[in-house]
Symmetry: C2
Subunit: 252 residues, 2 copies
Amino acid sequence: MDQVVAENGVQQVELLFAVNDDHGGVIVEMKEPMDSKAFLSLLRASISQWKQQEGFRYHHAEPHYLMLVYWIPEAASTVPANATHRVGVGAIVMNDKRELLVVQEKSGRLQGKGIWKIPTGVVDEGEDIFAAAVREVKEETNIDTEFVEILAFRQFHKVFFEKSDLSFLCILSPLSFDIQKQELEIEAAQWMPFEEYAAQPITQKHGLFKYISEICLAKVDREYVGFSPLPMTSSFDDQVTYIYLNNHDLNQ
Amino acid sequence: MDQVVAENGVQQVELLFAVNDDHGGVIVEMKEPMDSKAFLSLLRASISQWKQQEGFRYHHAEPHYLMLVYWIPEAASTVPANATHRVGVGAIVMNDKRELLVVQEKSGRLQGKGIWKIPTGVVDEGEDIFAAAVREVKEETNIDTEFVEILAFRQFHKVFFEKSDLSFLCILSPLSFDIQKQELEIEAAQWMPFEEYAAQPITQKHGLFKYISEICLAKVDREYVGFSPLPMTSSFDDQVTYIYLNNHDLNQ
């Protein structure tokens, strides 16, 4: 942005609007889109004004904005780290004939291999895990369900770029039974006898598939207890959040 | 970058090096830092060359790079979503005198309030949850521990920017007992009789503090079973990953 000579003859420079944050830095929030050339010019002037010549780093970006940070204090930075994980769900849904709700996907590693798997998906930004499990089953198969418990989860590193994946194995009760598969992602969907599902070669060999099958059996036939979501309020704010815990053992 | 007139008189334009990706798009990877003005100019020329006038979006950014995406196919984008969660740990460490390892922090919401809390921290990129719990306790108090179980977790939305937090409540066994607090973040640290910890007003009122106290008691005095990490190999690659499950019930 060009320098402006004010009426009193003092040079004025237009700068990015910045507010001090709680960590000893400044936050520049762009409420309106700005031409990138104009932004660059403003940013340069602002940085110079803040008496810093260089050192800004990318912090994180979302589709419509980019956050840059420059840590001014000499002490180690306490700016919150960027998000590191994507969160996923896998859904065990069994009817009272011991048939498991399974799908074949149109893309991904298992594409075209004829392998039946449980419905899986990614938790949306701001979405609760239990809600994501119900939504994914509905989207992929049109089956309505009620969430029961989280039975297990696994952490997987470097899944995309340098990020990790935390996926939660859930069990849900079916409330409807007529499958209508989603066309875009799902090649096939069916209620499959559990023993047939468990007899697939991949379920015998592959660590995760094997665990899913064993945990499912332990839950259905024995007393396997997972974690249930309980609503919880904070005295700091009014947000209702969920804590997932072994509610059976807590209430013994 | 300025246009260059080549020897044959044809104009040549320097473009960003781009490779086609698996999703029908192009990936531009910047291996070397580049002056931002030069980058902008190159990017503009490249976009124009790719016959796209606009539509690039920020995808994600890390300190040293920024990823932009432009989805060319008409079908819905299948580019992996950005990471949505930060992952945290809270550590219950109790000695055989029923004393809990607790700290007071120098910053954050509880700063200066005299409230004793369990050690907490953020899981690093690529770090396993159980490793993070052991590391955080060591960093804050210099106590060595062995990981036992995950007892519960909670999901919290819009914690920083639009991102969520998934924090895992862990229990660890102490292997050493002499506390040396970390100077930068920790105001005070001590072994505190559990009943004294639980009697703090915040533990009576605040949802999360109350649950931590109840779960701790259920674990120490009763038969509360959490999730244990078990190593698991994938037939897809050689990465060892961990699945967290109710190992007690699985092996009944």
